[in-house]
Symmetry: C2
DNA sequence: TTTGTGAGTTTAGTTCTTCAACTCAGGCCG
DNA sequence: CGGCCTGAGTTGAAGAACTAAACTCACAAA
């Protein structure tokens, strides 16, 4: 029996992974979300090889996830730092989802090492409660279980035949 | 100035990525969420090399993301299929987050190829509306922006000195 | 007995990672 | 000026991971 399925290769997950799916990429983004900006900061926090870090940063810049900004310490020459773009900051939910999954299934016996809290950097009034990622549909049904959702073809779907 | 930071290596994101961060792993999980069960299905849907698929499936089984289940087609010998465990199905939010990010920033000009909808497989009564991933804190504040959250040390945190 | 099929395994070649050593540009000290 | 220091990379060699294609294995059907 022949069926038509959504082409699994023409998919935003695959495209997203081609940008941030390489080893270290998401960890670099995570450190950037946590305030790292300079080559040496990423290097010492992550222990990544320098040449790989250089190529990863370049890839992320090219992809529009980060951008290079010049900076100059007083009494030092100009150097470059790396900051997330809006596109890069938008990876936060992905990282929170991964964190939550890791906490749930691969936790340190001591408990999670990181808790993500509701606390804007520049606003002391926030509630400080732990943050979770939830699935919510456009009709407002929230906290959907993984089983309660399914994939359907969208406007850009390509199809492939399969047996 | 010396500061103490959360050890970036002792982190659930890093641990999660050590399980599902290899090339293909998340795509295999995605196909499994979409119903793929057999070696040949994963192979033909993804176009992954057979030996890699074999090692990835083994890794995922070892990690507890999938499990091997025997099956037997009528008039055929027993073979094995691969199904997600609860731990594997729990990766759905991560994949939805990646999908959303890819749709937003790397979309096909035609629009998204896949839309995730609120529709349990075995329940025709559901609303069918598109599903999004949202950040929500324990106090009920929902739809938090990426900037409105920050990382804080949890019970299992290790610390490292840094300059 | 030959042919076919799904599920892998083997092998050879290419690409990616790692680690260590090296370069480069400017600032600082004597 | 000349030597030394620092941050930010670059280069190169060795090892690990990935790809593609051919091969095996156990059974079933003709």
């Amino acid at each position: 029996m022949e069926t038509r399925r959504i082409d699994p290769v023409n998919c935003s997950v695959a495209r997203a992974l081609s940008v941030v799916g390489e080893r270290w990429s998401l960890l670099i983004v995570r450190e950037a979300l946590d305030g790292a900006r300079r080559f040496g900061e990423f290097h010492s926090r992550l222990g990544i090889a320098r040449n790989l870090l250089a190529t990863r940063l370049e890839t992320l810049v090219t992809a529009g996830v980060m951008h290079r900004v010049p900076y100059q310490e007083p009494g030092d020459r100009q150097r470059f730092a790396y900051e997330l773009t809006e596109q890069g900051r938008a990876l936060r939910p992905t990282l929170v989802a991964l964190l939550e999954w890791g906490d749930t299934y691969l936790a340190d016996p001591q408990g999670p090492s990181v808790i993500v809290r509701h606390r804007p950097v520049d606003d002391a009034s926030s509630c400080d409660e732990p943050v979770k990622v939830v699935l919510e549909c456009a009709a407002g049904h929230s906290h959907l279980a993984p089983e309660d959702v399914c994939r359907t073809p969208g406007p850009g779907a390509r199809f492939v035949e399969s047996s």
